[in-house]
Symmetry: C2
Amino acid sequence: MATKSRIKTEARPTSTVEQYIKVIFSQQERAEGEIVGMKQLADAMAVTPGTATSMVKHLSARALVDYTPRKGVLLTATGRKLAVTMIRRHRLIETFLEQVLGYDWTEVHEDAEALEHAVSERFIERIDTYLEYPQTDPHGDPIPDSSGAIERRLSVPLDRCSEGDQVTVVRIGDEDPEFLILMKEHMLTPGEVFLVTEINPTAGTLSVCHIESKALFTLGLAAGARILVAPIH
Amino acid sequence: MATKSRIKTEARPTSTVEQYIKVIFSQQERAEGEIVGMKQLADAMAVTPGTATSMVKHLSARALVDYTPRKGVLLTATGRKLAVTMIRRHRLIETFLEQVLGYDWTEVHEDAEALEHAVSERFIERIDTYLEYPQTDPHGDPIPDSSGAIERRLSVPLDRCSEGDQVTVVRIGDEDPEFLILMKEHMLTPGEVFLVTEINPTAGTLSVCHIESKALFTLGLAAGARILVAPIH
DNA sequence: ACTAAGACTTTGACGCATCAAAACATATAA
DNA sequence: TTATATGTTTTGATGCGTCAAAGTCTTAGT
Ligand SMILES: [Mn+2]
Ligand SMILES: [Mn+2]
Ligand SMILES: [Mn+2]
Ligand SMILES: [Mn+2]
Protein backbone atom coordinates (compact mmCIF):
# COMPACT_ATOMS: atom_id res chain seq x y z
CA MET A 1 0.00 0.00 0.00
CA ALA A 2 3.01 2.29 -0.25
CA THR A 3 2.60 3.13 -3.95
CA LYS A 4 0.40 5.87 -5.31
CA SER A 5 -2.71 4.49 -6.95
CA ARG A 6 -2.48 4.54 -10.71
CA ILE A 7 -6.13 3.68 -11.29
CA LYS A 8 -7.71 6.00 -13.83
CA THR A 9 -10.01 8.08 -11.64
CA GLU A 10 -13.23 8.77 -13.52
CA ALA A 11 -12.97 12.44 -14.44
CA ARG A 12 -15.65 14.49 -12.74
CA PRO A 13 -17.62 16.79 -15.07
CA THR A 14 -16.58 20.44 -14.91
CA SER A 15 -18.81 22.66 -12.82
CA THR A 16 -20.01 24.25 -16.04
CA VAL A 17 -21.21 20.90 -17.34
CA GLU A 18 -22.84 20.14 -14.00
CA GLN A 19 -24.66 23.46 -14.08
CA TYR A 20 -25.94 23.05 -17.66
CA ILE A 21 -27.25 19.59 -16.88
CA LYS A 22 -29.02 20.80 -13.75
CA VAL A 23 -30.59 23.66 -15.67
CA ILE A 24 -31.68 21.47 -18.58
CA PHE A 25 -33.31 19.15 -16.07
CA SER A 26 -35.32 21.89 -14.44
CA GLN A 27 -36.37 23.39 -17.77
CA GLN A 28 -37.49 19.95 -18.86
CA GLU A 29 -39.45 19.48 -15.59
CA ARG A 30 -41.08 22.86 -15.89
CA ALA A 31 -42.40 22.02 -19.35
CA GLU A 32 -43.55 18.46 -18.72
CA GLY A 33 -40.69 16.80 -20.59
CA GLU A 34 -40.85 19.15 -23.57
CA ILE A 35 -37.69 19.56 -25.61
CA VAL A 36 -35.58 22.49 -24.41
CA GLY A 37 -34.69 25.15 -26.98
CA MET A 38 -31.38 26.98 -27.17
CA LYS A 39 -32.82 30.37 -26.38
CA GLN A 40 -34.59 29.01 -23.35
CA LEU A 41 -31.41 27.31 -22.18
CA ALA A 42 -29.26 30.35 -22.93
CA ASP A 43 -31.58 32.57 -20.91
CA ALA A 44 -31.59 30.18 -17.97
CA MET A 45 -27.79 29.94 -18.03
CA ALA A 46 -27.33 33.67 -18.62
CA VAL A 47 -25.19 33.09 -21.72
CA THR A 48 -25.69 33.86 -25.41
CA PRO A 49 -27.53 31.36 -27.62
CA GLY A 50 -24.33 30.58 -29.51
CA THR A 51 -22.66 29.56 -26.29
CA ALA A 52 -25.57 27.29 -25.46
CA THR A 53 -25.37 25.64 -28.87
CA SER A 54 -21.68 24.90 -28.59
CA MET A 55 -21.99 23.63 -25.04
CA VAL A 56 -24.91 21.42 -25.97
CA LYS A 57 -22.84 19.83 -28.72
CA HIS A 58 -20.26 19.08 -26.11
CA LEU A 59 -22.84 17.55 -23.76
CA SER A 60 -24.13 15.52 -26.65
CA ALA A 61 -20.64 14.20 -27.41
CA ARG A 62 -20.45 13.20 -23.73
CA ALA A 63 -23.77 11.37 -24.14
CA LEU A 64 -25.44 13.48 -21.47
CA VAL A 65 -28.10 14.88 -23.80
CA ASP A 66 -29.85 14.09 -27.05
CA TYR A 67 -29.50 17.09 -29.29
CA THR A 68 -31.67 17.70 -32.33
CA PRO A 69 -30.28 20.70 -34.22
CA ARG A 70 -32.80 23.50 -34.61
CA LYS A 71 -35.14 21.68 -32.24
CA GLY A 72 -33.49 21.45 -28.87
CA VAL A 73 -32.17 19.14 -26.26
CA LEU A 74 -33.33 16.39 -23.90
CA LEU A 75 -31.39 14.62 -21.15
CA THR A 76 -30.30 11.04 -21.73
CA ALA A 77 -30.56 8.51 -18.90
CA THR A 78 -26.95 9.35 -18.02
CA GLY A 79 -27.68 13.06 -18.04
CA ARG A 80 -30.72 12.57 -15.86
CA LYS A 81 -28.63 10.61 -13.38
CA LEU A 82 -26.14 13.45 -13.16
CA ALA A 83 -28.93 16.01 -12.84
CA VAL A 84 -30.48 14.17 -9.93
CA THR A 85 -27.08 13.89 -8.26
CA MET A 86 -26.68 17.64 -8.56
CA ILE A 87 -30.14 18.30 -7.20
CA ARG A 88 -29.45 16.02 -4.28
CA ARG A 89 -26.25 17.89 -3.55
CA HIS A 90 -27.91 21.28 -3.84
CA ARG A 91 -30.81 20.48 -1.58
CA LEU A 92 -28.80 18.64 1.04
CA ILE A 93 -26.38 21.55 1.19
CA GLU A 94 -29.23 24.04 1.52
CA THR A 95 -30.73 22.01 4.33
CA PHE A 96 -27.37 21.73 6.06
CA LEU A 97 -26.70 25.45 5.84
CA GLU A 98 -30.06 26.20 7.40
CA GLN A 99 -30.26 23.47 10.01
CA VAL A 100 -26.66 23.36 11.17
CA LEU A 101 -25.07 26.68 10.34
CA GLY A 102 -28.12 28.81 11.05
CA TYR A 103 -28.41 30.39 7.62
CA ASP A 104 -31.67 32.12 6.90
CA TRP A 105 -34.11 30.54 4.51
CA THR A 106 -33.37 33.30 2.01
CA GLU A 107 -29.57 32.92 2.07
CA VAL A 108 -29.01 29.24 1.50
CA HIS A 109 -29.54 29.10 -2.24
CA GLU A 110 -26.65 31.35 -3.25
CA ASP A 111 -24.03 29.49 -1.24
CA ALA A 112 -25.41 26.11 -2.28
CA GLU A 113 -25.09 27.16 -5.91
CA ALA A 114 -21.29 27.35 -5.49
CA LEU A 115 -20.73 24.54 -2.99
CA GLU A 116 -22.61 21.93 -4.99
CA HIS A 117 -19.75 21.93 -7.51
CA ALA A 118 -16.99 21.67 -4.92
CA VAL A 119 -18.12 19.09 -2.38
CA SER A 120 -17.04 15.46 -2.42
CA GLU A 121 -19.32 12.47 -2.36
CA ARG A 122 -18.01 11.87 1.15
CA PHE A 123 -19.13 15.33 2.25
CA ILE A 124 -22.63 14.76 0.89
CA GLU A 125 -23.00 11.38 2.56
CA ARG A 126 -21.76 12.81 5.85
CA ILE A 127 -24.21 15.69 5.92
CA ASP A 128 -27.01 13.35 4.87
CA THR A 129 -26.19 11.17 7.87
CA TYR A 130 -25.78 14.16 10.16
CA LEU A 131 -29.19 15.52 9.16
CA GLU A 132 -30.73 12.05 9.47
CA TYR A 133 -31.77 11.73 5.85
CA PRO A 134 -34.04 14.75 5.41
CA GLN A 135 -36.90 14.42 2.92
CA THR A 136 -37.16 18.04 1.81
CA ASP A 137 -35.00 21.15 1.66
CA PRO A 138 -35.85 24.49 3.36
CA HIS A 139 -38.05 25.51 0.43
CA GLY A 140 -40.03 22.31 0.51
CA ASP A 141 -38.34 20.69 -2.47
CA PRO A 142 -37.87 16.92 -2.19
CA ILE A 143 -34.33 15.60 -1.74
CA PRO A 144 -33.48 12.58 -3.93
CA ASP A 145 -32.04 9.67 -1.93
CA SER A 146 -28.56 8.34 -2.66
CA SER A 147 -29.95 5.91 -5.24
CA GLY A 148 -31.51 8.83 -7.11
CA ALA A 149 -35.14 8.21 -6.23
CA ILE A 150 -37.23 11.36 -5.77
CA GLU A 151 -40.37 11.34 -3.71
CA ARG A 152 -43.41 12.15 -5.82
CA ARG A 153 -45.74 14.56 -4.11
CA LEU A 154 -49.24 15.47 -5.06
CA SER A 155 -49.32 19.23 -5.16
CA VAL A 156 -50.59 21.97 -7.42
CA PRO A 157 -49.51 25.54 -8.07
CA LEU A 158 -51.43 27.94 -5.86
CA ASP A 159 -52.76 29.85 -8.88
CA ARG A 160 -54.61 26.75 -10.07
CA CYS A 161 -56.64 26.36 -6.90
CA SER A 162 -60.26 27.40 -6.58
CA GLU A 163 -61.87 29.84 -4.20
CA GLY A 164 -62.71 28.11 -0.95
CA ASP A 165 -59.92 25.54 -1.16
CA GLN A 166 -58.05 24.90 2.05
CA VAL A 167 -54.41 24.11 1.36
CA THR A 168 -51.10 23.35 3.00
CA VAL A 169 -48.04 25.08 1.56
CA VAL A 170 -45.67 22.48 0.15
CA ARG A 171 -43.00 24.43 -1.65
CA ILE A 172 -41.78 27.95 -2.46
CA GLY A 173 -39.54 28.63 -5.48
CA ASP A 174 -36.09 29.27 -4.07
CA GLU A 175 -34.11 31.38 -6.48
CA ASP A 176 -35.16 34.89 -5.57
CA PRO A 177 -34.30 36.14 -2.06
CA GLU A 178 -36.62 39.17 -2.44
CA PHE A 179 -39.51 36.83 -3.11
CA LEU A 180 -38.60 34.56 -0.23
CA ILE A 181 -38.41 37.45 2.21
CA LEU A 182 -41.87 38.63 1.20
CA MET A 183 -43.35 35.14 1.41
CA LYS A 184 -41.89 34.64 4.86
CA GLU A 185 -43.38 37.91 6.03
CA HIS A 186 -46.80 36.54 5.15
CA MET A 187 -46.09 33.10 6.58
CA LEU A 188 -46.15 31.48 3.17
CA THR A 189 -43.67 28.79 4.20
CA PRO A 190 -43.82 25.00 3.85
CA GLY A 191 -46.32 23.47 6.24
CA GLU A 192 -48.51 26.53 6.82
CA VAL A 193 -52.24 26.23 6.14
CA PHE A 194 -54.26 28.75 4.11
CA LEU A 195 -57.71 29.28 2.73
CA VAL A 196 -57.93 30.51 -0.85
CA THR A 197 -60.34 33.42 -0.52
CA GLU A 198 -60.28 34.85 -4.02
CA ILE A 199 -59.02 34.05 -7.50
CA ASN A 200 -59.34 37.03 -9.84
CA PRO A 201 -58.09 36.25 -13.36
CA THR A 202 -59.11 39.66 -14.59
CA ALA A 203 -57.05 41.54 -12.03
CA GLY A 204 -54.41 38.81 -12.17
CA THR A 205 -54.44 38.37 -8.42
CA LEU A 206 -55.29 35.78 -5.83
CA SER A 207 -55.87 36.16 -2.12
CA VAL A 208 -55.28 33.78 0.72
CA CYS A 209 -56.07 33.77 4.43
CA HIS A 210 -53.63 32.29 6.89
CA ILE A 211 -55.80 29.99 9.01
CA GLU A 212 -53.84 30.32 12.21
CA SER A 213 -53.45 34.11 12.28
CA LYS A 214 -56.41 35.03 10.06
CA ALA A 215 -54.03 37.32 8.13
CA LEU A 216 -55.01 38.11 4.54
CA PHE A 217 -52.54 38.38 1.68
CA THR A 218 -52.98 39.18 -1.99
CA LEU A 219 -50.43 38.31 -4.63
CA GLY A 220 -50.10 38.09 -8.41
CA LEU A 221 -51.02 34.93 -10.29
CA ALA A 222 -47.43 34.63 -11.59
CA ALA A 223 -46.17 34.66 -8.01
CA GLY A 224 -48.84 32.12 -7.14
CA ALA A 225 -47.42 29.81 -9.78
CA ARG A 226 -44.20 29.65 -7.79
CA ILE A 227 -45.98 28.27 -4.74
CA LEU A 228 -46.98 24.64 -4.61
CA VAL A 229 -49.74 23.58 -2.27
CA ALA A 230 -51.52 20.38 -1.27
CA PRO A 231 -55.31 20.67 -1.02
CA ILE A 232 -56.55 19.47 2.35
CA HIS A 233 -58.74 16.37 2.03
CA MET B 1 -35.18 47.80 -2.13
CA ALA B 2 -36.90 46.34 -5.15
CA THR B 3 -34.09 47.01 -7.62
CA LYS B 4 -31.14 44.72 -8.23
CA SER B 5 -27.95 46.09 -6.77
CA ARG B 6 -25.68 47.61 -9.39
CA ILE B 7 -22.70 48.04 -7.08
CA LYS B 8 -19.50 46.74 -8.65
CA THR B 9 -18.86 43.60 -6.62
CA GLU B 10 -15.12 43.28 -5.93
CA ALA B 11 -14.06 40.38 -8.15
CA ARG B 12 -12.81 37.44 -6.12
CA PRO B 13 -9.49 35.99 -7.26
CA THR B 14 -9.77 32.79 -9.27
CA SER B 15 -9.11 29.61 -7.34
CA THR B 16 -5.86 29.26 -9.27
CA VAL B 17 -4.65 32.63 -8.01
CA GLU B 18 -5.73 31.74 -4.49
CA GLN B 19 -3.80 28.49 -4.67
CA TYR B 20 -0.59 30.08 -6.01
CA ILE B 21 -0.65 32.70 -3.27
CA LYS B 22 -1.18 30.09 -0.59
CA VAL B 23 1.70 28.01 -1.93
CA ILE B 24 4.05 30.98 -2.25
CA PHE B 25 3.25 31.83 1.35
CA SER B 26 4.13 28.39 2.65
CA GLN B 27 7.31 28.19 0.56
CA GLN B 28 8.32 31.56 1.94
CA GLU B 29 7.58 30.39 5.51
CA ARG B 30 9.53 27.19 5.05
CA ALA B 31 12.62 29.12 3.98
CA GLU B 32 12.51 31.92 6.55
CA GLY B 33 11.33 34.59 4.14
CA GLU B 34 13.74 33.63 1.37
CA ILE B 35 12.79 34.57 -2.16
CA VAL B 36 10.89 31.77 -3.93
CA GLY B 37 12.29 30.55 -7.24
CA MET B 38 10.26 29.46 -10.24
CA LYS B 39 11.33 25.83 -10.11
CA GLN B 40 10.48 25.61 -6.45
CA LEU B 41 7.10 27.19 -7.10
CA ALA B 42 6.45 25.08 -10.19
CA ASP B 43 7.20 21.90 -8.25
CA ALA B 44 4.94 22.90 -5.38
CA MET B 45 2.12 23.72 -7.80
CA ALA B 46 2.73 20.65 -9.97
CA VAL B 47 3.07 22.75 -13.12
CA THR B 48 5.95 23.44 -15.49
CA PRO B 49 8.37 26.30 -14.75
CA GLY B 50 7.10 28.26 -17.73
CA THR B 51 3.61 28.15 -16.33
CA ALA B 52 4.86 29.42 -13.00
CA THR B 53 6.66 32.30 -14.69
CA SER B 54 3.62 33.44 -16.60
CA MET B 55 1.35 33.12 -13.60
CA VAL B 56 3.78 35.04 -11.43
CA LYS B 57 3.77 37.90 -13.91
CA HIS B 58 0.03 37.92 -13.60
CA LEU B 59 0.19 37.96 -9.79
CA SER B 60 2.71 40.76 -10.01
CA ALA B 61 0.40 42.80 -12.25
CA ARG B 62 -2.30 42.27 -9.59
CA ALA B 63 0.15 43.58 -6.95
CA LEU B 64 0.00 40.32 -5.00
CA VAL B 65 3.72 39.58 -5.33
CA ASP B 66 7.02 41.31 -6.00
CA TYR B 67 8.68 39.55 -8.87
CA THR B 68 12.36 39.88 -9.67
CA PRO B 69 13.05 38.14 -12.99
CA ARG B 70 15.63 35.37 -12.72
CA LYS B 71 15.54 35.68 -8.94
CA GLY B 72 12.08 34.83 -7.75
CA VAL B 73 9.02 36.07 -5.99
CA LEU B 74 7.92 37.42 -2.61
CA LEU B 75 4.41 38.25 -1.38
CA THR B 76 3.42 41.88 -1.03
CA ALA B 77 1.38 43.00 1.98
CA THR B 78 -1.76 42.45 -0.14
CA GLY B 79 -0.60 39.00 -1.14
CA ARG B 80 0.16 38.09 2.45
CA LYS B 81 -3.31 39.21 3.46
CA LEU B 82 -4.87 36.94 0.86
CA ALA B 83 -2.60 34.06 1.87
CA VAL B 84 -3.62 34.33 5.50
CA THR B 85 -7.27 34.44 4.48
CA MET B 86 -6.79 31.22 2.54
CA ILE B 87 -5.00 29.54 5.41
CA ARG B 88 -7.77 30.57 7.76
CA ARG B 89 -10.33 29.09 5.40
CA HIS B 90 -8.39 25.87 4.96
CA ARG B 91 -7.82 25.26 8.64
CA LEU B 92 -11.31 26.19 9.76
CA ILE B 93 -12.75 23.88 7.13
CA GLU B 94 -10.47 21.04 8.22
CA THR B 95 -11.50 21.55 11.82
CA PHE B 96 -15.15 21.64 10.87
CA LEU B 97 -14.94 18.46 8.82
CA GLU B 98 -13.33 16.64 11.71
CA GLN B 99 -15.31 18.05 14.63
CA VAL B 100 -18.76 18.25 13.08
CA LEU B 101 -18.89 15.83 10.19
CA GLY B 102 -16.75 13.13 11.78
CA TYR B 103 -14.05 13.03 9.14
CA ASP B 104 -10.90 11.21 10.10
CA TRP B 105 -7.77 13.20 10.77
CA THR B 106 -6.26 11.82 7.59
CA GLU B 107 -9.17 12.73 5.30
CA VAL B 108 -9.79 16.38 6.00
CA HIS B 109 -6.99 17.91 3.97
CA GLU B 110 -8.13 16.72 0.56
CA ASP B 111 -11.69 18.01 0.89
CA ALA B 112 -10.51 21.28 2.45
CA GLU B 113 -8.22 21.81 -0.53
CA ALA B 114 -11.28 22.06 -2.80
CA LEU B 115 -13.76 23.70 -0.45
CA GLU B 116 -11.47 26.57 0.50
CA HIS B 117 -11.96 28.00 -3.00
CA ALA B 118 -15.74 27.66 -3.00
CA VAL B 119 -16.96 28.81 0.40
CA SER B 120 -18.30 32.28 1.11
CA GLU B 121 -17.10 34.61 3.82
CA ARG B 122 -20.45 33.97 5.46
CA PHE B 123 -19.79 30.23 5.56
CA ILE B 124 -16.40 30.73 7.17
CA GLU B 125 -17.73 33.08 9.84
CA ARG B 126 -20.59 30.67 10.59
CA ILE B 127 -18.36 27.66 11.10
CA ASP B 128 -15.95 29.76 13.16
CA THR B 129 -18.85 30.68 15.44
CA TYR B 130 -20.18 27.14 15.48
CA LEU B 131 -16.79 25.76 16.52
CA GLU B 132 -16.38 28.54 19.09
CA TYR B 133 -13.30 30.08 17.54
CA PRO B 134 -10.86 27.18 17.53
CA GLN B 135 -7.16 28.00 17.89
CA THR B 136 -5.69 25.12 15.93
CA ASP B 137 -6.70 22.70 13.19
CA PRO B 138 -6.67 18.89 13.55
CA HIS B 139 -2.96 18.76 12.66
CA GLY B 140 -2.05 21.33 15.28
CA ASP B 141 -1.60 24.22 12.87
CA PRO B 142 -2.72 27.61 14.23
CA ILE B 143 -5.86 29.18 12.75
CA PRO B 144 -5.54 32.92 11.97
CA ASP B 145 -8.36 34.98 13.47
CA SER B 146 -10.67 37.03 11.28
CA SER B 147 -8.33 40.02 11.47
CA GLY B 148 -5.52 37.87 10.09
CA ALA B 149 -3.46 37.52 13.28
CA ILE B 150 -1.72 34.16 13.68
CA GLU B 151 -0.72 32.87 17.07
CA ARG B 152 3.05 32.46 17.35
CA ARG B 153 4.03 29.25 19.04
CA LEU B 154 7.41 28.23 20.33
CA SER B 155 8.09 24.85 18.83
CA VAL B 156 10.94 23.04 17.12
CA PRO B 157 11.11 20.23 14.59
CA LEU B 158 11.47 16.90 16.34
CA ASP B 159 14.72 16.14 14.50
CA ARG B 160 16.38 19.13 16.15
CA CYS B 161 15.77 17.92 19.68
CA SER B 162 18.42 16.27 21.83
CA GLU B 163 18.43 12.87 23.47
CA GLY B 164 16.69 13.01 26.81
CA ASP B 165 14.35 15.89 25.87
CA GLN B 166 10.78 15.50 26.98
CA VAL B 167 8.40 17.06 24.46
CA THR B 168 4.73 17.64 23.67
CA VAL B 169 3.66 17.11 20.06
CA VAL B 170 2.42 20.40 18.62
CA ARG B 171 1.91 19.77 14.96
CA ILE B 172 2.08 17.09 12.25
CA GLY B 173 2.47 18.03 8.56
CA ASP B 174 -0.92 17.44 6.98
CA GLU B 175 -0.51 16.78 3.29
CA ASP B 176 0.24 13.07 3.20
CA PRO B 177 -2.49 10.68 4.42
CA GLU B 178 -0.05 7.73 4.48
CA PHE B 179 2.18 9.64 6.84
CA LEU B 180 -0.72 10.72 9.03
CA ILE B 181 -2.01 7.17 9.34
CA LEU B 182 1.40 5.96 10.48
CA MET B 183 1.81 8.79 12.96
CA LYS B 184 -1.59 8.14 14.45
CA GLU B 185 -0.75 4.46 14.90
CA HIS B 186 2.14 5.50 17.09
CA MET B 187 0.19 8.17 18.92
CA LEU B 188 2.18 10.98 17.37
CA THR B 189 -0.75 13.39 17.48
CA PRO B 190 -0.98 16.95 18.85
CA GLY B 191 -0.91 17.00 22.65
CA GLU B 192 0.81 13.66 23.22
CA VAL B 193 3.98 13.62 25.33
CA PHE B 194 7.18 11.81 24.33
CA LEU B 195 10.73 11.31 25.49
CA VAL B 196 13.44 11.56 22.82
CA THR B 197 15.46 8.42 23.47
CA GLU B 198 17.89 8.51 20.58
CA ILE B 199 19.12 10.78 17.82
CA ASN B 200 21.34 8.95 15.35
CA PRO B 201 22.56 11.23 12.55
CA THR B 202 24.67 8.45 11.05
CA ALA B 203 21.76 6.08 10.64
CA GLY B 204 19.47 9.03 9.90
CA THR B 205 16.97 7.96 12.54
CA LEU B 206 15.50 9.15 15.77
CA SER B 207 13.58 7.27 18.44
CA VAL B 208 10.92 8.42 20.82
CA CYS B 209 9.11 6.85 23.74
CA HIS B 210 5.44 7.59 24.35
CA ILE B 211 5.33 8.52 28.02
CA GLU B 212 1.85 7.26 28.71
CA SER B 213 2.09 3.86 27.01
CA LYS B 214 5.87 3.42 27.14
CA ALA B 215 5.70 2.49 23.43
CA LEU B 216 8.89 3.04 21.43
CA PHE B 217 8.96 4.30 17.85
CA THR B 218 11.81 4.94 15.44
CA LEU B 219 11.51 7.17 12.40
CA GLY B 220 13.71 8.89 9.82
CA LEU B 221 15.11 12.35 10.44
CA ALA B 222 13.26 13.69 7.38
CA ALA B 223 9.99 12.46 8.86
CA GLY B 224 11.01 14.01 12.17
CA ALA B 225 11.33 17.36 10.45
CA ARG B 226 7.61 17.24 9.68
CA ILE B 227 6.72 17.01 13.36
CA LEU B 228 6.83 20.09 15.54
CA VAL B 229 7.19 19.71 19.28
CA ALA B 230 7.39 21.94 22.35
CA PRO B 231 10.09 20.96 24.86
CA ILE B 232 8.62 20.55 28.33
CA HIS B 233 10.00 23.11 30.79
C1' DA C 1 -47.31 31.45 -51.54
C1' DC C 2 -44.67 35.09 -49.60
C1' DT C 3 -42.68 37.44 -46.06
C1' DA C 4 -41.15 38.87 -41.64
C1' DA C 5 -39.95 37.59 -37.01
C1' DG C 6 -37.70 34.57 -34.09
C1' DA C 7 -34.88 30.96 -33.11
C1' DC C 8 -30.74 28.78 -34.25
C1' DT C 9 -25.94 27.98 -35.89
C1' DT C 10 -21.52 29.35 -37.42
C1' DT C 11 -17.39 31.90 -37.32
C1' DG C 12 -13.67 34.39 -35.45
C1' DA C 13 -12.05 36.22 -31.42
C1' DC C 14 -10.66 36.46 -26.48
C1' DG C 15 -9.01 35.39 -21.49
C1' DC C 16 -7.39 31.86 -18.45
C1' DA C 17 -4.42 28.14 -17.34
C1' DT C 18 -1.74 25.03 -19.03
C1' DC C 19 2.31 22.30 -21.78
C1' DA C 20 6.51 21.34 -24.71
C1' DA C 21 10.43 22.80 -26.42
C1' DA C 22 13.76 26.17 -27.60
C1' DA C 23 16.56 30.02 -26.17
C1' DC C 24 18.80 32.28 -22.54
C1' DA C 25 21.24 33.53 -18.01
C1' DT C 26 23.90 32.45 -13.95
C1' DA C 27 26.62 30.07 -10.84
C1' DT C 28 29.89 26.88 -9.93
C1' DA C 29 33.42 23.54 -11.03
C1' DA C 30 37.34 22.53 -13.78
C1' DT D 1 38.59 31.52 -17.80
C1' DT D 2 35.84 28.44 -19.92
C1' DA D 3 32.53 24.77 -19.72
C1' DT D 4 28.63 22.65 -17.91
C1' DA D 5 24.61 22.16 -15.22
C1' DT D 6 20.69 24.17 -13.59
C1' DG D 7 17.25 27.28 -13.39
C1' DT D 8 14.50 30.75 -16.12
C1' DT D 9 12.08 32.92 -19.79
C1' DT D 10 9.97 32.93 -24.20
C1' DT D 11 7.27 31.15 -27.86
C1' DG D 12 3.70 28.72 -30.03
C1' DA D 13 0.12 25.67 -29.18
C1' DT D 14 -4.09 23.58 -26.82
C1' DG D 15 -8.76 23.08 -24.32
C1' DC D 16 -12.52 25.34 -22.03
C1' DG D 17 -16.03 28.61 -21.83
C1' DT D 18 -17.40 32.62 -23.36
C1' DC D 19 -19.09 36.81 -26.67
C1' DA D 20 -20.44 39.49 -30.89
C1' DA D 21 -21.96 39.48 -35.19
C1' DA D 22 -23.20 37.47 -39.41
C1' DG D 23 -25.68 34.12 -41.73
C1' DT D 24 -29.39 30.29 -41.93
C1' DC D 25 -33.62 27.92 -40.97
C1' DT D 26 -38.55 27.53 -39.49
C1' DT D 27 -42.87 29.10 -38.43
C1' DA D 28 -46.76 31.68 -38.51
C1' DG D 29 -49.23 35.61 -40.42
C1' DT D 30 -51.12 37.77 -44.24
MN1 LIG E 1 -31.74 26.36 -4.25
MN1 LIG F 1 -34.19 24.81 -2.37
MN1 LIG G 1 -4.47 20.81 5.19
MN1 LIG H 1 -4.12 21.10 8.59
